[in-house]
Amino acid sequence: MSPRAAWTVAVPYLAFFLLPLGWLALTSFWPDAELARPLPSHLTLENHAAALAGGGLARAVANSLLVSGATAALALALAAPAAFAVARLGVRGGRALLAAALAISMFPPIATAAPLYVALRAVRLLDTLPGLVLPYASFSLPLALWLLTGTFRALPAELYRAARVDGCTPLGAFRRVLLPVAAPGVATAGLLVFVFAWNELLYAVTFLTSPARRTVPVALALFGGEFRDPFVVLAAASTIATIPVVAVAVLFQRRVVSGLTAGAVKG
């Protein structure tokens, strides 16, 4: 594809996703009284101030960062060694494990919400952030496992063999050689899991009851009832809530595109 053709595809595609986001951001600066006008006469930060007033939103962002970060960390910690074992160690039943993981990820979340509620109540994790991290991590595990298995399979087999001959145990070779080399793939998987957890609403609204433990989607969903005319304030709140995800994505993206595998083997 020529650069020109690539642009003609990329620009409408990106516009499709970015224009609503841009409109949302613009709305957040729109003076409340001028909402009916085609364009605002001036821009204001009042809405952002109103959204942040009371500390509820800041609290929700902090909760979401905590929950999403912990989910990504837990999912990667479990999926990376498993993916390495399936891809490199020729573990018996590796394919069955991948198939089972895929099957589990097909469950509609709503079907599991009630049993999970009972389970979390039994272990006294209802209305706690760890109580959210556990189901999030287990539901994002299949995705992470599949992505990372592909990543480890794509690494040259001789890299693992070289590490073994150089004296590493299988786990040592994983930790000292394969994991650092697979960093771009691990970062990608982590980012996707993070975004999944950041956006999740159903479990969050079901399992959390205290306002102080709300995550961002819950806080935004329940915003309506608390203000007289919340459209612009809601826009401001949504914009603020998007910033951390974008920041995390940009941060991880550096790793994703760094092309660390260059030069491992010939070529």
């Binding site: 040259p156 001789e158 890299l159 063999r161 070289a162 590490a163 073994r164 001959v165 150089d166 004296g167 590493c168 145990t169 040592g172 000292r176 050689v177 650092p180 080399v181 960093a183 660390l260 595998t261 260059a262 030069g263 491992a264 083997v265 010939k266």
Partner: protein
């Protein structure tokens, strides 16, 4: 820097993958400080052999001994064997210095000793100016030297080299080949060198082991392998241009159950229709600079001869073909094994 060589013995080694035999009863002994080249076409089991010795794979049956000690059950780390991979397998996230020091770091050596040994190996291989670079910033030849250095730095009991030159371009390959030979002479270490390139094996090895379909065809010095091949396969595999293996009647000898193999240097081709020898016609002339390879046709068979660099003739030109039957090696047509020369009538 020198390394005390160790003795490596393989005893009736077999390896099957899902019932398919990759190695069938290979017995080979590599002496202290010896360089044994394992050659054979691709898929003959050469790389499997190295994996078994390195401990990356377990034999189906048979025994591996290093310095008399059975190492079958030992992990790669406990065997103290270093390996240079065909793809070099450098660690891309580490600098050359870290790559070289990695095996020592894993072994838990003190940092100061690691630094000293890395410097020593870097000096030996001319890698000192490259120590802070990543593998991606190195040329093919430089990567190859780092891979070699990572093996040397350990001073292991046995060095395993898996086609170490096959990823280098032709010009570089000859230089590195010579360096490897000097390095082996200097170190006095035990090397097992796997290659599909018979010229590499000829020039480097103290002894050559020819592997075919997972079984050893012959083990011997390069001169024995070349001059006294045990089987027709070995005769054909070694030497460029390849040996002439033909039915005896092609060379005017009485027919029999054995074929005769003649090296191209044992055939003399003289231009002209008259004279001693057998009549033949030129089929192809390939000037190589220092010599010319001349392929001639005779009673439907083609034979290649090494001739003077000045030899030139158009295809179809009549020539006389001469040879000393004593130089011929005979192989049973059915089994491919050596057979005694037929009695002269």
């Amino acid at each position: 820097m020198s390394v005390a060589g160790s003795r490596l013995e393989l005893d009736s080694l077999t390896k099957s993958y899902d019932g398919v035999a990759a190695l069938r009863g290979v017995s080979l002994s590599v002496g202290e400080g010896e360089l044994v080249a394992v050659v054979g076409p691709s898929g003959c089991g050469k790389s499997t052999l190295l994996s078994l010795v390195a401990g990356l794979d377990a034999p189906t049956s048979g025994v591996i001994r290093i310095d008399g000690r059975v190492v079958n059950e030992l992990s790669p780390r406990e065997r103290d064997v270093a390996m240079v991979f065909q793809s070099y397998a450098l660690y891309p996230h580490m600098t050359v210095r870290k790559n070289l020091g990695f095996p020592l770091d894993v072994a838990g050596l003190p940092r100061r000793e690691i630094a000293g040994r890395v410097e020593e190996v870097a000096a030996l291989l001319g890698l000192a100016p490259l120590l802070e670079r990543r593998p991606a910033a190195l040329s093919g030849g430089e990567r190859q030297r780092v891979a070699l250095g990572r093996a040397l730095v350990r001073r292991p009991k046995v060095f395993l080299l898996d086609e170490p030159l096959s990823n280098l371009d032709a010009a570089l390959r000859l230089g590195v080949r010579a360096e490897l030979k000097k390095l082996h002479e200097r170190l006095g270490a035990t090397f097992v060198y796997v290659t599909h390139d018979q010229a590499e094996a000829m020039t480097l090895a103290d002894r050559i082991a020819v592997l075919r379909n997972g079984a050893l065809e012959q083990v011997g010095t390069p001169r024995e392998i070349y001059g006294d091949p045990a089987t027709a396969f070995v005769a054909r595999f070694m030497g460029t241009p390849p040996v002439n293996l033909v039915a005896p009647e092609v060379l005017g000898l009485p027919p029999g159950s054995a074929d005769i193999a003649l090296r191209p240097e044992d055939l003399r081709v003289v231009l002209g229709e008259a004279g001693p020898g057998l009549e033949a016609r030129v089929w192809l002339v390939e000037p190589m600079g220092s010599e010319t390879w001349v392929t001639v046709e005779r009673v439907g068979a083609r034979l290649v001869a090494r001739c003077d660099p000045g030899f030139d003739a158009p295809p179809g030109a009549p020539v006389r073909l001469a040879f000393d039957p004593q130089r011929g090696r005979w192989f049973d047509r059915e089994t491919g094994r050596r057979s005694p020369p037929p009695r002269s009538p």
